[in-house]
């Protein structure tokens, strides 16, 4: 009994620290959510057009493709990696899907996504087996996949067959009032949350980013997790690409240029740390929505030039990271 009491004392003395730590990590993780709520309230009060079904679904639909890419990026960054190839993979999938649209939506979707999954898997294999930094490997994939997309199309965009209505439904259709891409986005994030929170794979993704050396010593199969996240990132980028092609009615080989940076920004703003191990799909969704709605506000405002919007985005990204960094260091 005496022994138990000593440990209770011990736990007691850590409790205050835990509480303070929680507070800091709450702000760190939920700072973006607080900001999102703030922006939402601001926009609702200021613009009549903001809180309308049309505008909200519009914002969601516009951000659904980036949202999917950012979800894949979240998995990669949680392991402490990075994936610069997402934008190019998105273009590859769009081109493939547009070409296959005539064979039906299912075939186009599956083959396009399978192809980018393989390319993502290739990223993972090179990173794991050849031990080259993810930055370099995915940079090369970014260049190569863009080349593939351009080569396959002769550097022209591929029009989707007018007759393949089921394919265009993916990006343009609605289910009830809900645009299909939004529905897919919601399902993807739901599954993403489930995987990250409630499956071994998900927990091992966190473990790998937390402390690779320790995870290895604890017997984790690091290679399998690495391959898994890059393949998943490829798959989700591919899905985003198919949706984009469907929405635009064309597979553009130049689609998704610079999206890797947008996705990284969304992930980081959401509160997932680049060093890995902390954050999650919910955080990224908040990050995507926050950046998306800020853009929507800029547009509703109408007086802020798009150039200033870029400036503000960069500054905002930096401000959020500086804030997170000083908070986590204090902890």
């Amino acid at each position: 009994m005496g022994q138990s009491t000593t440990t209770i004392d011990e736990a007691g003395s850590t409790r205050g620290r835990v509480a303070r730590g929680r507070m800091a990590s709450f702000i760190q993780r939920q700072g973006a959510l607080v900001a999102l709520l703030g922006v939402l309230i601001f926009a609702t009060v200021r613009y009549e057009d903001f809180l309308t079904e049309r505008n909200l679904f519009n914002v969601l639909r516009q951000n659904s493709m980036l949202g999917l890419v950012a979800l894949g990026m979240t998995f990669v960054i949680l392991t402490g990696g990075i994936d610069l190839s997402v934008g190019s993979l998105l273009a590859v999938a769009g081109v493939v899907a547009a070409n296959l649209a005539g064979h039906g939506m299912i075939a186009a979707l599956l083959i396009a996504v399978a192809f980018t999954t393989l390319l993502g898997l290739l990223n993972g294999i090179i990173i794991d087996r050849a031990r080259i930094q993810p930055f370099i490997v995915t940079l090369a994939m970014m260049i190569a996949a863009r080349g593939l997309a351009l080569a396959a199309t002769g550097e022209e965009s591929v029009r989707v067959d007018k007759l393949s209505e089921d394919f265009t439904w993916l990006g343009q259709g609605k289910l009830g009032p809900v645009p299909v891409p939004v529905l897919i986005l919601v399902i993807a994030y739901g599954l993403g949350w489930l995987v990250l929170r409630h499956t071994r794979f998900g927990r091992h993704v966190y473990a790998l980013g937390d402390n690779e050396e320790a995870a290895r010593l604890m017997g984790l199969n690091v290679g399998r997790v690495t391959l898994g996240v890059y393949a998943l990132s490829g798959a989700l980028s591919g899905l985003g690409g198919v949706l984009l092609a469907s929405r635009l009615g064309a597979g553009q080989p130049v689609a998704g240029t610079g999206w890797e940076l947008d996705a990284i920004a969304a992930v980081v703003v959401g509160g997932t740390l680049l060093t890995g191990g902390q954050g999650g799909s919910g955080a990224t969704l908040v990050g995507v929505l926050l950046l998306g709605i800020i853009f929507n506000v800029f547009n509703l405002e109408g007086t802020i030039s798009s150039w200033w919007q870029w400036v503000l985005r960069g500054v905002f990204l930096l401000a959020v990271v500086v804030m997170q960094n000083s908070l986590s260091r204090r902890k």
């Binding site: 022994q3 011990e10 736990a11 850590t14 730590g21 409630h198 966190y206 017997g219 191990g277």
Partner: protein
């Protein structure tokens, strides 16, 4: 384990070491740096493969190819720097890789319940949902132990478990160890703190230079004998003629010392340490690993921030905020970890040697090649550095030559005070003697030297005074005739007691 042999790149790190663990035994493993303790436990836990010898577990020959296999077989190590996941919960850390599942999803309820039961069995009341990083180090170690127990560990290796624990936390650890013992598990306990070994361990195995020295029951072994075994000395062993130091330091403690460190305090590692060094004096700083000797050296140099205390050079407070301040004031520091904190591996001998002197060698930022060459050639010649040339990369040199280059890094500047942390560790005999002679020579020119060493001969023969540290505190200062390996060992092991009771010294000498 029997006749375990391990070598790296043709060098034997372990030769024919044997270790037998009984169920329900706490077995201490001791030895100075490089004795092979960590190599042995890494082999035992599957982190390294052995080159020779055999291992048995409960009568069966075993072969571990990875930590994974060792832990499923029941051999688990808890390292000094706890190898767990700081951002994950306690339960997740315990069950990583074996999370209980239901319908393919993790069964959190069951995982947390089982973790709680496991922790309670060890007498720990930790909420398994707590994030590991929010626990203090002591509790993190307990979690690591619990993880081991959850594998049904037969052997639990604790590598310096108490190096950063408070007394109270140590007592919790002891409770857990006693429970492991009561459950019939064997515990290997590695520590440099003798009080703890005697408090908790049944037997001790001593290693030295990769060799097995002895296994003893602790109750029948005096502390002083244990230290002698660790260092490979006989009690009555002769006391000179091994090093190249030829006198006890010419300098004297001036009325106004060259350097004075007052009340240095930094966490538990450094507890109000005060010392002073005169011009031309070599002061030895003795203590076992973890006694605070390195912390003292780093604090004086300005490498680590101080909570309290101040360093004075020639009577002036330095107010150091970083190493560059210390260097500007005329201090120099040779780190014990040559690889991590000394050499810049990819740079040449020339660049490594002149790194600290560049401000003096450069005009408008352009380094004077001529002056650089002059210095580098002079020191290569003077220190007998064996290198293919000034442009050879330092990582290609032997340890002794690397060390000479690092010494030269300071000697080519106008320094007033030199701090040496294990200046001859890992260096072959020849170079070792040369470095010792050099230190001597330097002190003769009026430099103050503070020298940390695990080589007692070095301290005895090189220093005019020896300050002994233990558990972050300065426990004794020996001078003149009082300096002997014997007296240093006794203070390192037992603190200041003998000074208070001179009779005890005689008693031990018998």
């Amino acid at each position: 384990m029997e006749s375990i042999t391990k070598s790296f790149s043709g060098v034997n790190a372990l030769t024919g070491v044997s270790l037998t663990l009984e169920p329900g035994e706490v077995h201490a493993l001791v030895g100075e740096n490089g004795a092979g303790k960590s190599t042995l436990i890494k082999i035992m836990t599957g982190a390294y493969r052995r080159d020779g010898g055999e291992m048995w577990l409960e009568g069966r020959r075993v072969e571990f190819r990875s930590p994974d296999e060792a832990q499923s077989a029941g051999v688990v190590a808890v390292y000094q720097e706890v190898n767990l996941l700081a951002f994950r919960s306690v339960a997740e850390n315990i069950y990583l890789g074996r999370e209980p599942r239901r319908f393919g999803l993790i069964d959190w309820k069951r995982m947390n319940r089982e973790a709680r039961e496991l922790l309670e069995r060890l007498g720990l009341e930790i909420d398994p949902r707590t994030t590991l990083g929010d626990l203090n180090i002591a509790l993190r170690q307990m979690v690591a132990i619990a993880r081991g127990v959850s594998f049904g560990a037969r052997v639990v290796v604790l590598d310096e478990p108490t190096s950063s624990l408070t007394e109270h936390e140590v007592s919790i650890l002891y409770d857990v160890i006693r429970r492991l013992k009561a459950e019939g598990r064997a515990v290997v306990y590695i520590s440099h703190r003798f009080d703890e070994l005697y408090a908790i361990c049944d037997r001790v195995t001593i290693l030295r230079d990769g060799q097995f020295v002895a296994t003893h029951t602790l109750s029948g072994l005096e502390k002083i004998d244990l230290v002698c075994l660790m260092l490979g000395k006989r009690r009555e062993e002769l006391r000179q003629g091994i090093t190249r130091f030829d006198h006890h330091g010419v300098g004297q403690e001036d009325a106004e010392p060259l350097l004075r460190a007052e009340n240095l305090k930094r966490g538990r590692k450094l507890n109000h340490v005060t010392l002073q060094v005169g011009r031309g004096e070599i002061v030895g700083l003795a203590g076992l690993l973890g006694s605070g000797r390195t912390e003292t050296a780093r604090a004086i140099f300005g490498a680590d921030p101080l909570e309290e205390g101040e360093v004075y050079l020639e009577g002036k407070p330095l107010g150091l905020r970083g190493p560059s301040d210390g260097i500007r004031a005329g201090l120099a520091f040779l780190s014990e970890d040559r690889k991590a904190e000394g050499i810049i591996p990819e740079l040449s001998v020339r660049d490594n040697m002149t790194l600290a002197a560049l401000p003096a060698l450069a005009r408008f930022g352009i380094v004077s090649r001529a002056r650089q060459r002059e210095i580098v050639e002079r020191f290569i010649e003077r220190l007998g550095i064996k290198a293919a040339g000034a442009d050879q990369k330092i990582r290609e040199l032997s340890g002794g030559n690397q060390q000479k280059v690092l010494l030269a890094r300071w000697l080519c500047k106008n320094i007033k005070f030199l701090i040496l942390d294990e200046p001859t560790r890992g260096i072959d005999i020849g170079a070792r003697g040369e470095i010792q002679a050099l230190i001597n020579e330097l002190a003769a020119t009026g430099l103050g030297v503070l020298m940390i060493s695990s080589e007692l001969e070095e301290l005895v023969e090189g220093s005019s005074r020896v300050i002994v540290m233990r558990d972050g505190e300065r426990v004794a200062e020996l001078r003149g005739e009082d300096i002997s390996q014997d007296s240093i060992i006794r203070r390192m092991a037992e603190g200041d007691a003998p000074e208070a009771q001179p009779a005890g010294v005689e008693a031990l000498r018998d």
